[in-house]
Amino acid sequence: MSIQTQETGCSFLSKTPDRVFSPEEFAKDEQLMIDQALQFSRKEVVPLAERIDAQEDGLMPGLIRKAGEIGFCGIDSPADHGGLGLGKNLAARILEFLSLNASFSVTYGVTSGIAQLGLSLFGTEAQRAEYLPRLASGEWIGAYALSEPNSGSDALSMSARAERQGDKWVLNGTKMWISNAKWAEFFLVMAKIDGQDVSAFLVERSFPGVSVSREEHKLGLKGSSTARLVLENAEVPLENLLYEPGKGHHVAFNALNIGRFKLAAMSLGPAREAIWEATQYAMDRKQFGRSISDFGLIRQKLADMVAHYFAVEAALYRTGANIDAAFAAHGGTVDGNRAAAEEFAVECSAVKILATEAEARIVDEALQLYGGYGFTEEFPLARIYRDCRVSRIYEGTNEINRVFLADRLKRRADAGRASLVASGDSFASELAGKAMAKFGSDQVTVGALSDLLLLTYAEQSARLRAQQVGGVAQLAYERFTNWANIQAAMAYQTVTGEPVALPSSRPGHVDELADAILATRSPI
């Protein structure tokens, strides 16, 4: 994949690029990697869903090792320490296809992603050599420990402490909601040195004073491990401080920026699986002597699934290509990596919100299509439905992301690094431009502004992708835009209090889109 992009962070608002990277453009051998991910998911993971949910002993670590043997656990880490250095965009596409089962996806996503990312971006040569090979091979499972019982969205208010005692750090505190805690041999832990300076530490499970509490009982993702990491006078070697004392927030938040981008990919996987299952059901299920896939309201759901998937995918892989370009231009040094990971922070939040809300919509409608059977455990949608609920909660709730998004764009503009003058080349863009002038500080206004911005981004990404791909893609774009325009009008009214006339809607294309999704049981 060659990366050619002129975009900078937030430039989508003021300037529409000539083209965007679209997922059709992954090279042939990259498609082969993606295909391996799909085969692995379908054959090795999805059939075990029930056993995975029961947390059968050794099953998940075994799957991670198997994934590691194929090379999946090191796709995003540098090639000099057992990784493959594939780039963030291809790694995200592979992640999407490894995410058909959400419990596996979380386990895999954390150990291949945020558990390694801090090391990749900020680690010294010795630190990288020590830990990356074991994580990249799948021999070890990794975890990332930031949240605490009283420090969730307000992450920097953490109370975990680190004190230097002679030749070691001594850590105390409790980390909560730690994915992979049960299986992890390695934790990236955030704690405040002397209760002041947020810092990142590389902590092995076997260090004295490190323990893991019982599993949380969760609504979904029952096959993934979520538990507390307890640090009681945990002894950590001095050289296991990552980056600089007091700069742990750079490690934490950059992991979150990229983590949000990745979560978007992880959210599309279950939606893809819901489509795979529900389309087959719609063709097989006969009522009134016909397949229910012939009925108008079912076909409408199918058409909406295609349209939303298409648009979110467009925004996601456009963002990934831009992130790769930023790393190519700035990365290499620690400061450069930091700048690259921060450049598209607004877009990362946008795709996190877009993908997780599209996932919720697609999975919900897929379940609905089963009628009463969707509500039973006989069919796979009940599990997918439970599992996907958390997507809108973690990696920053969608509310936190909405507060962050418009605010961050405004700050960038105030610093002269972005323009608030909207290109106005779509309805959403036009409204976003007008509304940004009324930037307010209350959360509801900021949230609605963020909606306008992310709708602008999605519409523009889908439009450019459709232009490049043609055919049924154009229809998916138009259907998505009908929906996006209504959302934009509502958000605009929230900000300004003024009503706004909707542009006339495009044809619905229900039949063409429904036929397209039924033909392959997959998004277009």
Binding site: K28, D29, L32, M33, Q36, Q39, I70, A519
Partner: protein, 245 residues
Amino acid sequence: MKILVPVKRVVDPYAKVKPLPDGSGLDVAGVKFDVNPFDEIAVEEAVRMKERDPSVSVTVVSIGSGDCEEQLRKALAIGADEALLVETTDEMDSTVVAAELEAVVRQVGPDLVLMGKQATDDDCNQAGQMLAARLGWPQATFACKIETAQGSVRVTRETDNGEETLDVPLPAVVTTDLRLNEPRYIALPGIIKARSKPLSRQPRATTAAPKTRTIRLEPPPSRPPGRRVGSVDELVAALRERGAL
């Protein structure tokens, strides 16, 4: 030992395809292509032999358009050492393929040609047999197990009457059946390595012309809907009614 594995680029066997409106061929716009699954089994088997015995080398060959590079790279990613692409857009049938492969065999000099028993696009099941005949080599078709020995291979083949075991002196042509092995997941480092493995292109070596030609392609007539019966008696009655019994 040197193994040659012919690899055919075929329409993804799971894709739904339709004939072109004029019946001149298939509408393959937007359709994925893959390695013929029987050939992938042959590549897998050859690579396993190489893993057991490092003196084995594996060459893969495709005959077709430049797009075949995609399938050859896949074979290289599985573990083949080098690839050869006989580049042509000519129409071909099994006789042409066998003639071209004969030329490739004489050029490459393998001890064993291992290939799919048939391709999933036209299901001819002829090229391997024709190649063996042209070369005057022994052949063993429908292999479900292959063991190597000094100067020969022992091939277990699936027949309608059960399994048959043949000792075949080398050089020979062996065609593979579905149950020979289950191809591995292709490790990502292998895919990266395949980018830099040698792949050479050359034009056709023969002027063989196809002995068959496609007149028209049309979809099979749609099947009338079935009917559910409640009991064996009802089934028998229904079959009688249609004159099937």
